[in-house]
């Protein structure tokens, strides 16, 4: 059945709060790792033409995790990220994001899910040319249903957050690669998503810019965001608490690292 999820006769939770993009304090719940944000079960993705990009992937990401997804080119990392971000549907298997079964949702509901729970950072930034950094970040809040003034305010706060408080009015072509990526990150996090998905966010950056972007992701994670980062960089992968290795559409390893200098609770 692919009908809209209807509230059961006796809803166990209260209805949606009026402001879906409102900041939440994620640090207070004592069981912050108890809630799975992503649950993939036996997910398969076959593209037209018979390419099997994913072959039976099981993956669970809990609230507050910071994980790397690594693997050779063409192994299915981007495909996995798109499916986790509900931009694409799996050929087979079950995907649940923030508790919602994706297969049961209409395209409209998926859009709402993305606007409320998921933030993307793309390798090639995808900033809208010709408008200011602040406007770019504010554009990311458009589909949350916030007022114009509130969007501007939150965009400014998000840019402060990524250290670009002095570049608000700069347009994309007036920013360095690292700054553009920070704007893209600010846009992704301005709506306070439960899940931040980054596809090679440092791929187009030099080492120094890449390191500062990674530091920013660490800070955001410390503040409670759940983050999945695709990377080719072994060093970066090793610096994150968890790394998931994938090859030919299969998860071949899934390991947790000790975090020197970063005291973190065990999962």
């Amino acid at each position: 059945m692919t009908t809209h999820p209807r509230p059961s006769p006796t809803p166990p939770t209260p209805p949606t709060p009026p402001d879906p993009c409102a900041p939440r304090d994620r640090r207070t719940p004592p069981d912050r790792y108890a809630r799975p944000v992503v649950e993939l079960t036996a997910v398969t993705k076959e593209y037209a033409g018979g390419v099997q990009a994913l072959r039976g992937v099981d993956l669970t990401v809990l609230d507050g995790e910071l994980l790397a997804i690594v693997g050779p080119s063409g192994s299915g990392k981007s495909t996995l990220l798109h499916i986790v971000g509900t931009l694409d549907r799996p050929t087979a298997g079950r995907v649940a994001i923030a508790g919602h079964d994706v297969a049961a949702l209409s395209d409209r509901a998926l859009s709402a899910l993305r606007s409320r729970h998921v933030g993307f950072v793309f390798q090639s930034f995808h900033l809208v040319p010709g408008i200011s950094a602040q406007a770019n970040v504010a554009e990311g809040l458009l589909y949350c249903g916030l007022s114009r003034a509130e969007r501007g305010r939150r965009a400014a706060a998000a840019l402060e957050r990524v250290g670009l408080g002095d570049r608000m009015e700069h347009r994309p072509h007036e920013l360095s690669g690292g700054q553009k990526q920070r704007v893209a990150i600010a846009r992704a996090v301005a709506g306070e998503p439960d899940l931040l998905l980054a596809d090679e966010p440092t791929g187009a950056l030099d080492t120094a810019s890449g390191r500062s972007v990674m530091e920013l992701l660490h800070e955001l994670n410390d503040d409670g965001a759940t983050i999945a980062v695709i990377t080719h960089d072994q060093e970066i992968a090793a610096s994150l608490p968890r790394s998931v290795r994938i090859r030919d559409g299969r998860i071949v390893s899934d390991e947790w690292h000790a975090q020197p200098g970063r005291p973190r609770e065990a999962p």
Partner: protein, 399 residues
């Protein structure tokens, strides 16, 4: 399983306008060129309608000034060929007593030649008629003096003459005081009339006083035209009675005409604008619409990344659709507004040159604008649907 309802928030009108205009702001030249096609089409149609409406308004204005409440009574033709009919001398007086008649003016033809001087042969009268005038002729015709004065009680008895403007031109007379040779003696020009659209025969006449005509020439005193004005709502009743009143002996020979009817007919044909030009405007508009559709398809192709990005940010298919339809509407709406301004300006220039009132009918403006909006929606619909159907991942991956 969470039971929170996932419903995408609506975009308010301002936000729709914001996303719809984003693509236009970054490409002003393209906006200008694709709006131009629409603008030319609308401008043509507005100008065609505007010019003919202005001409019509001018005629109607004139007609309003002249009034449609005048009737002219002339002796008409007898049933027996060759037998002249005449209006009785009492006709003007009788007509003025019909209920509703406000004023009466009378002319009588005097069979004498009007010449610039005695050296000009009698035959060369230039088609100028000599008429005796009495009663309130000037007032009934709403005629104005170009120069000089109209005949009064005193000048009506003496050899004084007032010329119609055509007569004055033919005789080469521009001012009062000139002498005109009529029936063997010189008359002094005391005035020249402005054009009299309701009575062109007066424009080609020389008018002398009734008494002067009777005393100086062999004028029999029978009127040859009685002009009459009545209240607007009495025209029909007066018309029904006037022939019998003017000539009780043979009412059927009397001819009664309404000179404003011809002007009204002319005004009606002026209002019917050229269908050919209007059709050309329509074709230009259609071509403009195709241009907008083309621009929109290119815009969608170019902005696949943006579309994928917006989808990843949570835009629904409907929100992508409305973004591109809005963009298309803005494009053609801008073209439409520019076209209306251009068409109105062209009409204004034409009106100024032709000394017409500047009339651009509201129905043409609203109709023109509505048609641009319809074209914008049609032109944007297909590209917008295509944009909304793009798979977000493919849109993002597009090179």
């Amino acid at each position: 399983m969470s039971t929170t309802r996932l419903r995408p928030p609506r975009l308010g009108p301002r936000d729709v306008l914001h996303v719809g205009s984003a693509g236009l702001r970054s490409r002003p030249m393209r906006v200008f060129l694709s709006a131009l096609g629409i603008a030319i089409g609308i401008a043509t149609m507005i100008a065609v309608v505007g010019v003919s409406s202005s001409s019509q308004a001018k005629l109607l204005q004139e007609l309003d000034k002249l009034g449609t409440n005048m009737l002219v009574v002339t002796p008409g033709q007898s049933m027996f060929a060759g037998q002249d009919t005449k209006l009785p001398k009492e006709a003007p007086g009788m007509i003025s007593r019909i209920e509703g008649v406000r004023s009466v003016g009378t002319t009588g033809d005097v069979p004498e030649a009007v010449r610039r001087s005695e050296r000009i042969p009698k035959e060369e009268t230039g088609g100028i008629a000599l008429k005796a005038a009495k009663d309130d002729l000037l007032g009934v015709l709403r005629a104005r003096m170009r120069t000089g004065t109209w005949l009064n009680d005193a000048t009506s008895r003496y050899p004084s003459v007032v010329l119609g403007h055509v007569t004055a031109e033919r005789l080469g007379i521009t001012g009062v005081g000139a002498q005109v040779f009529i029936g063997g003696r010189y008359f002094t020009v005391i005035g020249i009339l402005d054009p009299v659209p309701l009575a062109p025969e007066i424009e080609r006449s020389a008018l002398i006083g009734w008494q002067a005509a009777e005393q100086l020439f062999a004028f029999d005193g029978h009127p040859t035209a009685v002009y009459e004005r009545s209240a607007d709502d009495r025209v029909a009743q007066v018309r029904a009675l006037i022939a019998r009143t003017a000539n009780p002996q043979s009412p059927t020979t009397v001819s009664v005409t309404d000179p404003s009817a011809a002007l009204q007919a002319k005004a009606a044909t002026e209002g019917a604008f050229s269908t050919l030009l209007l059709g050309l405007g329509g074709i230009a508009l259609l071509v403009g619409g195709v241009g907008v559709a083309n621009t929109m398809i290119i815009s969608v192709l170019e902005r696949r990344h943006e579309i994928g990005l917006r989808r990843s940010l949570g835009a629904t298919r409907g929100q992508i659709r409305i973004q591109f339809v809005t963009e298309s509407l803005l494009l053609s709406g801008l073209g439409g507004l520019a076209g209306i301004a251009l068409g109105a300006a062209a009409t204004g220039v034409y009106a100024r040159i032709g000394d017409l009132p500047w009339v651009v009918p509201w129905w043409a403006v609203t109709g023109g604008f509505a048609s641009t909006l319809a074209i914008g929606t049609l032109a944007g619909l297909y590209p917008a649907v295509r944009a909304s159907r793009l798979s977000p991942t493919l849109a993002l991956q597009a090179t």
